[in-house]
């Protein structure tokens, strides 16, 4: 597959800038211990790392959803287009063009699939014709949703809910999308498709992405730049292509070692874990 990194100028204007932030939950649980990253305009930036590394927390810090989980940014700053945003209302952020697709779907259970999608267009002011157009676009991305448009989202399958969450975010015509594990629970075909959509949006519409993903393989294939988080710190970053070639990344995140891909059956014995910290 074509390497995306080479096609776009990564050093474009910086859209999002996270500056050495520290996040504490519940006043006592320190989760992020100084995370810095930048998302350039028109770039796809991947945030990688194991369970509990703090990817979700980082994204929520950016989108200001931490408050509702009793978390707060205690140090550092987050800037979008040079403006400090971590004090503002999440809704304002969406108006500015930043939208998050949350981990674990978070559909509006009692609304129908279509109503779910329409809530995505809540902040839009460009008339219902345009919105209808985008609705059709989403349906063309996810034909499965069109079939289920009248059913309550709570009763759709896990993957269908994931599509709803994605589609809903697209409906707001964002400038930047924060994607939290978009591939989770999706059939392999759809994973490809979703990333193709990401790439499409990125290339055709110039949408920037900050992408938290466990599926390192795919993520690094589509991203331009990557950060690796571990226990709340950035332990490595670099252009996606470079990361892909890094032997440690290869072994621990891509599951390939020098001998090529290993079978999951062969990992039965305990393996040495490499940690940067």
């Amino acid at each position: 597959m074509l390497d995306a990194a080479t096609t776009t100028d990564v050093q474009a204007e910086t859209l999002l800038e996270v500056n050495n932030i520290e996040v504490i939950y519940n006043h006592v649980i320190l989760v992020l211990k100084g995370v810095s990253l930048t998302v350039p305009k028109g770039g796809i930036t991947a945030l990688l790392g194991g369970n509990g590394a703090g990817k979700t927390t980082t994204l929520k810090a950016v989108s200001n959803l931490l408050h509702s989980e009793r978390g707060e940014v205690t140090k550092g700053s987050i800037k979008y287009r040079g403006e400090v945003i971590h004090e503002s209302d999440p809704a304002d952020l969406v108006e500015k063009g930043v939208i998050q697709v949350m981990e674990g779907r978070h559909c509006f259970e009692h609304l129908t699939v279509e109503e779910n999608l329409l809530t995505g267009a809540y902040t839009r002011k460009d008339g219902s014709a345009k919105i209808q157009q985008d609705l059709d676009l989403v349906y063309s991305y996810f034909p499965r949703l069109k079939e289920r448009r009248r059913s309550q989202a709570g009763y759709t399958s896990g993957g269908e809910q994931q599509m709803v969450a994605m589609g809903r975010a697209l409906m707001s015509r964002p400038e930047t999308i924060l994607l939290d594990e978009p591939s989770m629970g999706l059939a392999p075909q759809l994973v490809e498709e979703i990333f193709t959509i990401v790439k499409d949006l990125n290339e055709k519409e110039g949408v920037s992405f900050l992408l938290a993903e466990q599926n390192t393989n795919v993520a690094l294939r589509f991203a331009h730049y990557g950060y690796i988080l571990e226990s709340g710190r950035v332990v490595m970053d670099g252009p996606a292509a470079e990361l892909r070639e890094n032997p440690d990344v290869k072994e621990f995140y891509l599951g390939v070692s020098d001998e090529g891909r290993k079978s999951f059956r062969d990992v039965r014995s305990y393996r040495r874990r490499k940690r940067w910290l």
Binding site: G52, S157, G158, G185, L186, P188, R261, R265, R268
Partner: protein
């Protein structure tokens, strides 16, 4: 390779026994939606059986039928050679069927330890009065079960979060705790619904190791749903493929992988 009554031997030399659970012509409808259409398949003693298929194919619904949460409109479920009468989910659990859920269903208000302890409910025999006194039997029982649970916790390497409320855990660890809860029940049949969603390769490897070990050490029969083809192909002995509620394939990973219908509906490209 398949022997109808007596089981078979896998490539890596494990002995698979007779049929434990058999689904016969299951049909499940929700109003107008047909989630499962006339599907039959079986699960054999000691095997790792995978169910795959595109989103919304009806895989989770199938697990729900097995664990008694959904009652199919048509069809029969046979368990250990007898037709299972309609029963409540907790009665199914008593028969030795444990499971994990696609959208994590942990008890968020409890600690990891307590969550795993709930897996042992079917082994708790003391009554309310004895527990109220917390003496003799009740305490002995608690301690005995605690030992089993601690083993499971050790096994899944979650000792360090034993006392943490699960609500604070990251997604991947929650999945692991859910597995621990299911394992604590020492089930005969373990149902796993996308146990590795949201994990990176390293964690998937860990998870695979756990699954294989359980299967190996305790001879637990496992049915699992997973979208990571690598995992499915590597771990499972036999695979059922569903699409739009219908069964479109059933066989060894190799057979399934090369089935054109499966490729069209699900895999997209032939997977290596």
């Amino acid at each position: 390779m398949l022997d109808a009554s007596e089981g078979y031997v896998t490539e890596d030399g494990r002995k698979i026994g007779g049929v434990v659970m058999e689904m016969k012509n299951i049909t499940l409808r929700f109003g107008g939606v047909v989630a499962i259409k006339d599907i039959s398949f079986d699960i054999r003693e000691g095997e790792i059986r995978a169910i795959i298929g595109p989103n919304g194919a009806g895989k989770s619904s199938m697990l729900n039928v097995i664990s008694g949460f959904y009652v199919p409109q048509e069809g029969e479920v046979w368990f250990r050679g007898a037709k299972r009468p309609q029963m409540r989910p907790y009665e199914v659990a008593r028969q030795g069927i444990a499971r994990t859920f696609q959208n994590i269903a942990l008890f968020e208000g409890m600690s990891v330890l307590d969550n795993v302890m709930t897996g042992r409910l079917n082994y708790m025999k003391t009554n309310l009065l004895q527990q109220a006194m917390w003496m003799g039997k009740a305490e002995a029982e608690e301690t005995a079960n605690r030992e089993v649970v601690e083993k499971v916790i050790d096994f899944l390497e979650i000792q360090h979060i034993r006392k943490t409320p699960v609500a604070r855990l990251p997604y991947g660890l929650k999945k692991r705790v859910e597995l621990a809860r299911a394992l604590a029940a020492e089930p005969k049949l373990l149902l796993l619904d996308e146990p590795m969603a949201g994990m990176n390769v390293e964690e998937k490897e860990d998870m695979s190791r756990f699954i294989l070990d359980v299967n190996d050490e305790f001879g637990t029969t496992i049915a699992l749903i997973e979208h990571d083809m690598g995992v499915v192909m590597d771990l499972s002995d036999r695979v059922v493929v569903m699409d739009y509620g219908k069964k479109i394939g059933d066989g060894t990973p190799d057979e399934v992988r090369n089935n054109q219908e499966v490729i069209d509906a699900y895999l997209g490209v032939a997977h290596d």
